[in-house]
């Protein structure tokens, strides 16, 4: 019987799923990903998390609950830093503890510390430690990581052609690329686990697409371009997530193909409270693109979000219709 490794479909899953899944599969483990977020998962997560936690962390708890009786291990790495000189939200560092102390009868964790703040030198050790839960064969671990990395890189390349993780996660995904057209890009900003989790985001991506708009995110932009732009900030952004968002925003401000920007923030998120503020200030100061802030919490109603999206789209259309007039005034 292969060892069953559970991966919660939440938080950084949306960023790293291709890497994680293929790594464990190459090691010979059976990978079980929790169900798609649904009402039950949210409710059970909310019930099992401290009240003050942000919604995504509560949802993560829900996904762990969904897995706990059907796997041998749950993969909950303690992530401190993913990039040299940068951090991510403090909650990721404490995530294994939060889970351990909030959920009873939980299977064993793979809770290896991932900390590349000083350098990526310990990458190899980190990989070996994670792999050792499944096999002691070092060569096999090395090989598995190589294959997984290749998959992950392919995955990133596909995204640079315009695909989004939620497209690729679809069962019937055939690898086709949405047709790019001219001036119809909407930049959607926010944590990957908010924008790509279609239940959480109330299908914002599909909704925008139905209005004939093309949705782009930080993931569609090459890393180098993002970094280059982020370097121009007066104050270095030390959260990796924030650097991506700000770099992409600066790029989009100058990109005529981008006709509007949406930030999907999450109530109670410490990072969003800072980053969304900086983004909004930047967009409003140096561009006239329509900007909307959508805020998610446990009680956000779909109707409210729909109205906001429609108002946003109307604004874009209005701009299109009046573009010529506007430019003559300038």
């Amino acid at each position: 019987m292969p060892i069953k490794v559970g991966i919660p479909r939440a938080l950084l899953f949306y960023e790293y799923y291709s890497l994680w899944i293929s790594f464990f599969e190459e090691l010979g483990a059976e990978v079980i990903v929790s169900e798609k977020t649904n009402k039950e998962i949210i409710d059970i997560g909310v019930k099992n998390t401290v009240d003050e936690a942000c919604l995504p962390v509560k949802v993560f708890h829900g996904h762990v609950m969904d897995l706990k009786n059907r796997v041998d291990y749950i993969f909950i790495p303690r992530i401190i830093s993913l990039t040299e000189g940068e951090y991510i939200c403090p909650k990721f560092c404490g995530l294994p503890e939060m889970i351990k102390y909030s959920i009873k009868d939980i299977p064993k964790f793979i809770d290896t510390t991932i900390n590349f703040r000083k350098s990526k030198k310990n990458l190899n050790r980190t990989v070996m430690e994670i792999g050792s839960y499944i096999t002691q064969d070092k060569k096999k671990i090395k090989r598995a990581f190589e294959i997984a990395t290749e998959k992950y890189n392919n995955h990133r390349m596909l995204m640079e052609t315009g695909l989004l993780p939620n497209d690729m996660l679809k069962k019937d995904f055939l690898g086709e690329v949405p047709q790019p057209s001219k001036k119809d890009k909407v930049l959607l900003l926010g944590h990957p686990y908010n924008i790509y989790d279609s239940y959480m985001s109330m299908e914002v991506i599909d909704k925008l697409r139905k209005h004939g708009l093309r949705v782009v995110t930080c993931d569609n932009l090459e890393t180098d371009v993002i970094d280059e732009k982020a370097k121009t900030l007066n104050k270095k952004m030390f959260w990796s997530f924030g650097r991506k968002i700000l770099g992409t925003t600066l790029h989009a401000i100058e990109d005529d193909g981008v006709c509007g920007i949406i930030y999907m923030a999450c109530f109670g998120c410490g990072l969003d409270s800072v980053i969304a503020e900086i983004v909004e200030r930047k967009v409003r100061r140096s561009s006239d693109k329509p900007f909307a802030m959508l805020s998610l919490d446990e009680h956000t109603g779909e109707a409210g979000i729909n109205t906001r999206i429609e108002a946003f789209v109307d604004m874009i259309r209005w701009r299109e219709d009046h573009e010529d007039n506007l430019s003559t005034y300038r």
Binding site: E97, M98, G270, V274
Partner: protein, 371 residues
């Protein structure tokens, strides 16, 4: 140049001393009040943590009094505080205030201390490093003396025989401190009031509850944010212990210097079984100090945190386990601009009732086992 800084409890006294010794004009912001919070909330991002909002209020109130240079801690923490000054500068600029911001980083190495002294050099306009170093050390000493004094106040308040005496003495103390100037005068006042304090009539045999306070430093130290929790508990006959103080905060940064000691290692040891890494803010302290309070047989612990405070939320989920494993009651108080006083007080009273009944039960069990 007229310099100002945000409030955090009594920290202002030490900062005031440093700048006065350097001969710079200091504008101490008005004591945090309702207006400070309202102003700060009005101009801050809605979902920011409350220390940010109050500090914005402090700045605005100081600017009104003529301040043109802001001095603040910031910089290196992985948490939101690392962005406070960038955003705050932007907010103030947008409001049309032309101000200078001096941001100092934590002082964890000689290089960083030098950096701090350079800032002081800039402020004072003097090249006399000896003078700068001297005022810096005087500031540190003041900070320590104030914290000692406050600890004594807490002890005596819980045991005073004539109700209200300590509070009256304390408000006179603050008045004199605010009118006094410079290091020598400040130390003199602290000394005087310490004597007065020790002369107050107290009931040494009084059985007092002992409650430890843990949490995010700002909410612990700024009485306006925690609704004067420490004073209140004292007046209810509770002896409070604050686990984070500004002098300890600084000592922990400077303890690479041989003669400076801090409790850092003790705290890390205590928190290790539950949390063995730094995750920003004061989370590790919160966990470690709660364990230490339970080891020292405190009656209970109060955990203070700003609404949406990321590190403290992690700590909080761990505290729920410590509460059971170490059998020590913990009251969590989440603070923001909407915290209503009535509900807040009711919760504190209920908590104290619980602590009293636990004590009685314990002493009853003891007396039974003796007979």
């Amino acid at each position: 140049m007229k310099i100002t800084f945000p409030h955090m409890g009594n920290t202002y006294i030490a900062l005031k001393v440093v700048f006065e010794e350097l001969g710079v004009e200091v504008i101490v912001p008005p004591k945090c009040n309702k207006n400070t919070l309202e102003l700060g909330t009005l101009y801050s991002p809605e979902l920011m943590c409350i220390p940010f909002k109050i500090t914005v209020g402090n700045y605005l109130e100081s600017i009104k009094k003529g301040a043109d240079t802001m001095f603040m801690w910031g910089g290196r923490d992985v948490c939101r505080i690392g962005y406070y000054n960038t955003l705050q500068r932007d907010i103030l600029e947008n409001l049309g205030h032309d101000i200078k911001m001096l941001c100092v980083k934590p002082m964890k190495s000689i290089r960083e201390i030098e950096h701090f002294l350079e800032k002081l050099n800039f402020v004072s306009g003097t090249k006399n490093y000896l003078k700068i170093l001297k005022s810096f050390i005087q500031g540190l000493k003041t900070l320590c003396r104030i914290d000692e004094f406050d600890d004594l106040v807490i002890k005596i308040r819980a045991r005073e025989i004539n109700k209200g005496e300590v509070d009256r003495l304390y408000s006179n103390f603050k008045r004199d401190i605010n009118n006094g100037k410079g290091y020598r005068r400040t130390m003199e006042i602290i000394g005087q009031y310490k004597k007065k304090l020790l002369n107050l009539e107290i009931d040494n045999n009084k059985e007092v509850l002992r409650v430890g306070i843990v949490g995010e430093i700002y909410t612990v130290l700024e009485p306006f944010i925690n609704h004067y929790l420490i004073e209140r508990l004292g007046n209810m006959g509770v002896e409070v212990h604050r686990s984070v103080t500004s002098s300890e905060f600084i000592r922990e940064q400077l303890d690479f210097i041989p003669f400076i000691k801090s409790n850092k290692h003790d705290i890390h040891r205590a928190s290790e079984p539950y949390l063995d890494t730094e995750i920003g803010g004061h989370a590790r302290h919160t966990v470690g100090n709660t364990v230490i309070y339970s080891e020292k047989n405190f009656d209970g612990v109060i955990h203070l945190l700003p609404f949406t405070c990321m590190p403290e939320i992690v700590a909080q989920s761990i505290l729920t386990v410590i509460e059971k494993e170490k059998d020590i009651p913990i009251l969590k108080l989440v603070l923001d601009e909407m915290t209503g006083e009535t509900g807040y007080l009711t919760r504190i009273e209920a908590f104290l009732d619980l602590l009293i009944s636990r004590r009685e039960k314990k002493s009853y069990e003891k007396s039974i086992s003796w007979s």
